[in-house]
């Protein structure tokens, strides 16, 4: 397995290195689907130039990355390509190890359940075999490294790749059960883009499970753990925010990074839902709709947590997907991160209902993005409505994909409790209907 992983990494790095050298790198770095105003490399370069001139990089309205990123590239700017390739490799390896560990646990849990005879007799089909699970980690790494979205994002030197690496490390440390490191990586991810804040919940749920603390608000041990984790998380967030302040000597970056993310002043088209709405909207409704749109990301945490409190890793996947769909400046790099988790749920395929439709729509949309962009911006014959229609379709497809997986997951759990072949009261075969 290690050998195949190495081979995979070599292939992935070769592809990226070749693309960096080709003439494609420049046009890719300009694509609005690949870079957002926050993650664009061009803007990072601008910020660096301002910093070198002794001007605050946040003066003006160009640079919106965090201070740590700019200081990171202050040292690494000459090795940027290597840094981004390394970030992708780290993310892939972290996901690989995390999934491997997770699968081991799933298998162990399944063994206990089987020994305790907890599954109905006709559910044997649903039991997962080790041979089937053996290649999943490798597939996850492959889905991440060879996904065209990740490759494009890396070639464009979008800082999204770094965020993904941090998130992948967070997943790894959480699954390994390391509370402190999990909190630190989560704090780093939050510091980068706020939204991973919602991953707090799955992380805590998972770690509690891991330490055999019952998830029960009436128990003191539950609250003690929550306080512990939040203390570590908020503490490291405090440290990192103060560190940024001392590096720059001003609080300029707070409005320029987080204000920028939350109030969405830049309406450059992207694959998200915000730009078109806010470009069309009357100014005095702006605040209201801003709240409505931003609440989307955070709101789903609560129902999902309640429904999936026994399955925190799946919850984590759902949250990553929700973030990448509803965040204010999404790029394809964000999508790539949660798409990498799909092989982990390959055992759900029999319950998926719209996977064909959804994958067709996603493929078609990915091809249509550049075409409609060309027609809108260069040819001038189409307009923003055409482009936004595709954006909308892309997001609907993503939402369908995620809800399909959600449904399939719940359905499998249901069958594992009640048996695969459900009978109605009169003895005829029953079907499950989601209403």
């Amino acid at each position: 397995m290690a050998a195949s992983l190495t081979l995979l990494v070599i292939v992935a790095v070769t592809i990226r290195a070749a693309l960096y050298r080709s003439s494609l790198a420049e046009p890719i770095a300009e694509r609005v689907e690949v870079v957002s105003p926050i993650t664009a490399w061009k803007r990072v370069i601008e910020g660096l130039a301002l910093l070198d001139l002794g001007v605050s990089p946040y003066s003006g309205d160009v640079f919106h990355e965090t201070p740590l990123i700019i200081y990171l590239f202050h040292f690494l700017v000459d090795y940027a390509e290597i840094t981004f390739m390394l970030a992708d490799v780290i993310a892939a390896v972290a996901l690989y190890m995390a999934v491997k560990d997770f699968n081991k646990q799933v298998f162990r849990k399944q063994k206990f359940a089987l020994e305790a005879n907890r599954y109905p007799a006709d559910c044997l089909e649903l039991i997962r075999s080790p041979t089937e699970m053996h290649y999943i980690p490798l597939k996850v790494a492959m889905f991440y490294l060879l996904n065209p979205f990740t490759i494009l994002s890396c070639v464009a030197k979008s800082t999204c790749g770094l965020n993904n690496a941090v998130l992948a490390l967070f997943v790894l440390t959480t699954i390994k059960g390391n509370v402190l490191l999990s909190a630190i990586f989560l704090c780093l991810a939050t510091y980068q883009s706020i939204y991973p804040l919602t991953l707090c919940a799955p992380a805590m749920l998972y770690l509690m499970q891991h330490q055999y603390i019952p998830v029960n608000p009436r128990r003191a041990s539950f609250w003690w753990f929550v306080v512990q984790y939040l203390f570590m998380y908020l503490g490291s967030l405090f440290v990192i925010v103060c560190l940024s302040f001392f590096l720059l000597g001003s609080w300029d970056y707070l409005p320029s990074v987080y204000g920028f993310i939350l109030s969405v002043p830049d309406l450059t088209p992207n694959i998200g839902l915000f730009w078109y709405f806010f470009a069309e909207m009357f100014e005095h409704f702006r605040l209201f709709f801003l709240c409505v749109f931003q609440i989307n990301v955070f709101f789903y945490t609560i129902p999902l947590c309640i429904k999936l409190k026994d399955h925190p890793v799946f919850l984590m996947f759902m949250q990553l997907a929700v973030i990448s769909i509803f965040k204010s400046y999404p790029t394809v790099g964000d999508t790539a991160l949660y798409l990498a988790f799909l092989p982990v749920w390959s055992h759900l395929h029999r319950f998926l209902r719209n996977i064909f439709l959804v994958s067709c729509v996603l493929l078609a949309c990915s091809a249509l993005f550049p075409v409609l962009w060309h027609l809108w911006i260069y040819a001038g014959s189409a307009n923003s409505n055409f482009y936004y229609a595709i954006t909308l379709l892309f997001n609907v497809a993503q939402i369908l994909l995620v809800s399909d997986y959600f449904y399939a997951y719940l359905r499998r759990e249901h069958h594992l409790t009640y048996g695969l072949y459900l009978k109605k009261k009169d003895g005829s075969e029953a079907t499950l209907v989601l209403k």
């Binding site: 209902r353 067709c360 075409v371 260069y378 040819a379 079907t431």
Partner: protein, 615 residues
């Protein structure tokens, strides 16, 4: 959402779609073709109308008086052209200066990738001359262009004469709010390309040109003029530009409105419009006019000097004077008045032309078909591909019984290795890349070893590579370790069908005509090919419907439409020249049709060829 979540209804729908797949596909195909043919039927089309308010109700008067003088200037120009044996730069500069313009010249040179035998040129050197009439009425931030080509022989002398006459007359008027640029370009499109690239500071095709010394504002609209006789019977407007792009319909409306006002016969595709739409001959006339537009648009070539403006977001059209044997003649003063009127209306524009349609087909100058009407014709063809893909997917997911609900699935068959799908995919794309790269790269070697000219070498190499690709299936199978399985070809076909659907969809969005013609021929191929159909017969059908044969048939069809049928011999020669022109267009102006065919459509077709010979 009921359809997506209720398993019973889904099952019913999917059962219906898989059981009736073949009839539905056939029905869709014929419905698509019929819809398309119906587009030219006048009651189904919309009348053209002026959408742009700035050009609508404002009245302008046309007073251009000096047609005779323009003709005299044209004759003088012809004499100087003959004397110099090319573009009389000095004379033009002097004449334009005498008319009070700011005059500049631009020289350019370009070595073609291989000799152009149609226009007999290889190393092209030339000079563009242009004069700017500065706007007296407003800040000089916007401009209009009137261009006339300096063609070899006796062509277009009257156009240059009229251009100079108009320049002289416009100079005396005070209402210009936009700079007007009078451009005389040498070597038709190459000169235009040089001038436009230089004007916009881009260089996309690697041409050498000297930078422009004087510039106007951003160009809002452009007209290109072609006149070769002192009197004309009708004026023809040409809209098709590079890659099938069309100018805003308002430009055509403007032309039509002025032709009506001044009383000049106007044509599109060189065909007058008829009023008897309800008769068979009237309908067939409209269909032929529309088909001519479709064929021209599908070729992706600029059909006049205006074609390159469109890439820069400038609405442009060519106006050609036609002199036929009709009685009713229009003199050059009237043409001048028409142009004056159009320019005055364009001068009134407050913003770029954007109100009207950009995607349309015109069965006559007074009627058009908008995107909403013609897209369903393509959609009906594309839906066949999706239905076939759905059918394959259902077979693939649940071989014995369709249970979309998931319950009761038997264990899936061992899925075929990714290798068996990837190999044909990669190999056919490599063949496509060879088709794209080899012809221009290997012309020298080919010329050394075979008794052919460079141009023939390029075209014949392209045909040779294309034909060599047909031998692929046998070789890919040798590369595959195991033999192809029943599931293998299904997966490959699923991939190929989806690939084709996306490819055609994208093409149809950019260039509807090209997408539709390709869909017309490739969709049946994609729908019926399996390894189990009779081999020889299907192979013949597949070859006939392949992109290259489609092109050959299109050449004959186009000649037929133009009422100039050719013998097979001439058609073949024309076919060869069309291929060389296609490759040249790509290298000179960045036309995308050749790379699209070579890198995407041909490999996609090869996949179906592979499926036919799957073992």
């Amino acid at each position: 959402m009921g359809l997506l979540s209720d398993p019973n209804r889904r099952r019913a729908l999917i059962n219906l779609l898989t059981r009736l797949n073949a009839p539905i596909c056939v029905l869709c195909y014929f419905a698509g073709v019929c819809w398309f043919m119906g587009l030219a039927f006048e009651p189904f089309t919309l009348r053209t109308y002026m959408s742009e308010n700035a050009m609508g109700s404002t009245m302008v008067e046309e007073r251009f008086p000096s047609g005779e003088r323009a003709l005299a200037t044209g004759r003088e120009f012809a004499a100087h052209k003959k004397k110099v044996g090319g573009m009389p730069v000095d004379w033009l500069v002097k004449t334009m200066q005498a008319r009070g313009l700011e005059v500049f010249t631009q020289s350019f040179s370009r070595t073609l990738p291989f000799p152009d035998e149609d226009k007999e040129r290889y190393i092209v050197k030339g000079t563009n001359v242009y004069g700017i009439l500065r706007a007296p009425r407003a800040a000089r931030t916007e401009a209009l262009v009137l261009s006339a080509p300096c063609s070899p022989g006796d062509n277009n002398n009257q156009a240059v004469g009229l251009l100079l006459g108009l320049a002289h007359y416009f100079r005396g008027q005070i209402f210009w709010a936009k700079d007007i640029i009078f451009l005389v370009n040498e070597h038709d499109l190459i000169g235009m390309q040089a001038w436009l690239e230089s004007y916009h500071h881009t260089n996309t095709t690697g041409m050498d040109w000297s930078p422009l010394q004087g510039r106007g504002g951003s160009i809002q609209a452009a007209l290109s003029l072609e006149l070769s006789s002192d009197v004309i019977t009708s004026l023809d407007i040409v809209l098709e530009g590079l890659n099938g792009q069309l100018p805003n319909l308002d430009l055509a409306n403007l032309f039509y409105a002025f032709c009506q006002k001044i009383g000049v016969l106007c044509t599109i595709q060189g065909r007058l419009q008829r009023n008897d739409w309800d008769s068979v001959s009237g309908y067939s006339h409209a269909v032929q006019t529309m088909m001519l537009m479709v064929m021209k648009q599908a070729s992706g070539r600029p059909w006049g000097d205006h074609g390159l403006f469109l890439r820069y977001h400038i609405e442009a059209a060519s106006i050609k004077g036609i002199n036929s044997f009709r009685q009713y003649k229009t003199d050059i003063t009237t043409v001048g008045r028409l142009l004056e009127g159009m320019f005055r209306k364009l001068n009134n524009l407050l913003e770029r032309l954007h109100q009207s349609y950009f995607f349309y087909l015109m069965p006559s100058l007074s009627h058009f078909v908008s995107i909403g009407y013609y897209m369903p014709a393509f959609g009906l063809l594309a839906v066949i591909l999706l239905l076939r893909a759905l059918d394959l997917w259902v077979q693939f997911v649940s071989p014995p019984a369709v249970t979309a609900d998931g319950v009761g699935d038997v264990e899936q068959q061992s899925s075929p290795g990714a290798l068996s799908v990837l190999t044909p995919l990669v190999i056919s794309h490599l063949t496509g890349a060879a088709l794209y790269i080899l012809p221009t790269r290997f012309q020298e070697i080919a010329v050394e070893h075979f008794p052919v000219s460079e141009t023939e070498a390029v075209v014949l190499t392209a045909i040779a590579v294309y034909t060599a690709g047909l031998a692929l299936p046998h070789n890919t199978h040798r590369l595959l370790s195991g033999e192809g399985t029943e599931q293998g070809w299904r997966v490959l076909k699923l991939v190929a069908v989806l690939y084709l659907a996306i490819l055609l969809g994208c093409t149809a969005l950019i260039n509807f005509s090209l997408g539709f013609i390709l869909a017309l021929t490739l969709v049946p191929v994609a729908a019926f090919v399996t390894p189990h159909v009779p081999k020889t017969l299907s192979a013949v059908v597949l070859v006939i419907l392949s992109p290259a044969c489609t092109l050959l048939l299109s050449v004959f069809f186009f000649q037929e439409l133009q009422e100039m049928p050719v013998s097979f011999q001439d058609g073949w020669l024309m076919y060869l020249s069309v291929i060389s022109q296609g490759i040249l267009d790509h290298h000179l102006y960045g036309s995308l049709v050749y790379p699209l065919i070579a890198l995407m459509v041909y490999p996609c077709w090869l996949l179906f060829w592979n499926i036919l010979f799957w073992k």
